[in-house]
């Protein structure tokens, strides 16, 4: 589905991603784990078009998508969430979601002026869809609340909700569980699994909650120092001495 070939990304003197190669199988929930500073989020930003790599290619279904802009990739069905929720704080929860669907005719000025009936009909559909998503995420009651007033965990759910407002093929989730409490976490995990099984979304998840990964993800890819260190099931990863060393920072001692 997604193939990353030999990506290198440097910021000034620092090499954040250093020749990273990996593959995300279609229909999988692939986890990317690794200690802080391993280059996971940078890699995500490169895949989603928010950063341009210094070297290497990203392929989606065999097509080279390196350097495409986020909107172009969005139209190809690749969406991402942010580690720190990027909600629109002074807009309502509902508006946050209603923004997302593409090709809304009301986004064109002329249609907004000349065919208000059509825009209104579309808005009703989009709203219904947004409400469905909110119900699914148990945020329905908060739909008229300003997004900035949500708790950290609720904002995380809203991030996920944003990806559900389209029919994506690949969703990149950056630390969906961080700051989410236990009850919400269960919901989140169930939501991801359901979307994967029922709607066939492919997920790539950066996460530090190992229990969640063990429960949800296969394969698990471990990154360290900008490279892929290991790949396999969570059980295999746990048994891999190199991985433990990377986490404890003793690999080179």
């Amino acid at each position: 589905m997604i193939k990353v070939e030999n990506i290198v990304k440097r910021f000034g003197g620092l090499t954040a991603v250093d020749g990273c190669t990996l593959e995300v199988p279609a229909g999988s929930i692939t986890a990317v784990i690794g200690p802080n500073g391993a280059g996971k989020t940078t890699l995500f930003s490169i895949i989603a078009g928010f950063l341009k790599p210094n070297e290497g290619r990203v392929l989606m279904d065999g097509e080279d998508i390196t350097g495409m802009s986020p909107p172009q990739l969005f139209r190809k069905g690749l969406v991402r969430t942010f580690q720190i929720p990027h909600e629109l704080p002074r807009m309502t929860v509902l508006e946050n979601l209603m923004l997302v669907p593409e090709a809304q005719s009301g986004e064109r000025l002329l249609s907004a002026w000349l065919s208000p009936g059509r825009v209104r009909r579309e808005e009703r559909e989009i709203r219904a869809r947004a409400e469905e998503v909110l119900a699914f995420l148990s945020l329905y009651e908060l739909r008229h609340e300003l997004a900035g007033r949500l708790s950290g965990g609720q904002k995380k759910l809203l991030e996920l909700g944003r990806t559900m407002m389209t029919e994506p093929r690949v969703v990149l989730l950056d630390e969906p569980a961080a700051g989410v409490n236990r009850t919400l976490l269960g919901k989140l995990t169930a939501a991801i699994r359901q979307l994967n099984e029922e709607r066939g979304y492919t997920f790539v998840v950066i996460e530090h909650d190992m229990d969640m990964i063990a429960e949800l993800c296969h394969p698990v890819i471990v990154m360290a120092q900008g490279k892929v260190l290991a790949e396999g099931s969570m059980d295999e990863i746990r048994r891999d001495p190199e991985v433990l060393e990377a986490y404890l920072g003793g690999a080179h001692a």
């Binding site: 500073g37 404890l248 003793g250």
Partner: protein
Amino acid sequence: MTGGYGGVDILQGVDLVVEPGEIVVIIGPNGAGKSTAMKAIFGLVHLREGHVTFDGAEITNLQPNKIVERGVGFVPQSDNVFPSLTVAENLDMGAFTRRDDFEPARQKVYELFPILRERSRQLAGQLSGGQRQMVAMGRALMLEPKLLLLDEPTAGLAPAVIDDMFASIREVNRELGVSILMVEQNAKQALRMAHRGYVLAAGRNRYDDTGENLLANREVAEMFLGG
């Protein structure tokens, strides 16, 4: 300590103690609140509950420059040098609040990090990651603090440089008698050198013990990979 950013309590009742002359390391999985705890001590994160005392005086939620004056130095994790200033000027900035002669302090920093003496006229922005980290630490030492807070001093450094960095930290502690509280990813190496360590998880204390005991503790190791 209880507090965090924008109403979200990342810290939920964390207790930390650093005795004079100690090296204390905070480790824990990502997102445990280690860096936040460090920033809270230094007044950069507002504490809703709890207290921070230093030498018996309350410094909870004080302005950072007031805390610096009391003898606490802080080295942030990233962006911790002034890139368009020379190395020497970076060190001067550390002594900004000092009116007395701080030349001896500068000489001590140069003894500690001889490379900085060589590079003293070079812009900090042109240094390697490890050298920048030395500049940052050197700057914090210019005030001759009693306590130094280090936020992941080895993050993003090459393995060989990491070893040097740990050696320097130990030297700062031993030679200059500065107590050190640090957050560290490289848990093994850090614990080996530390007098004591704290393990945080999900904004709470999980374990605290001597460095050696924590190293020997299987559970601590496994915590990082769950299960």
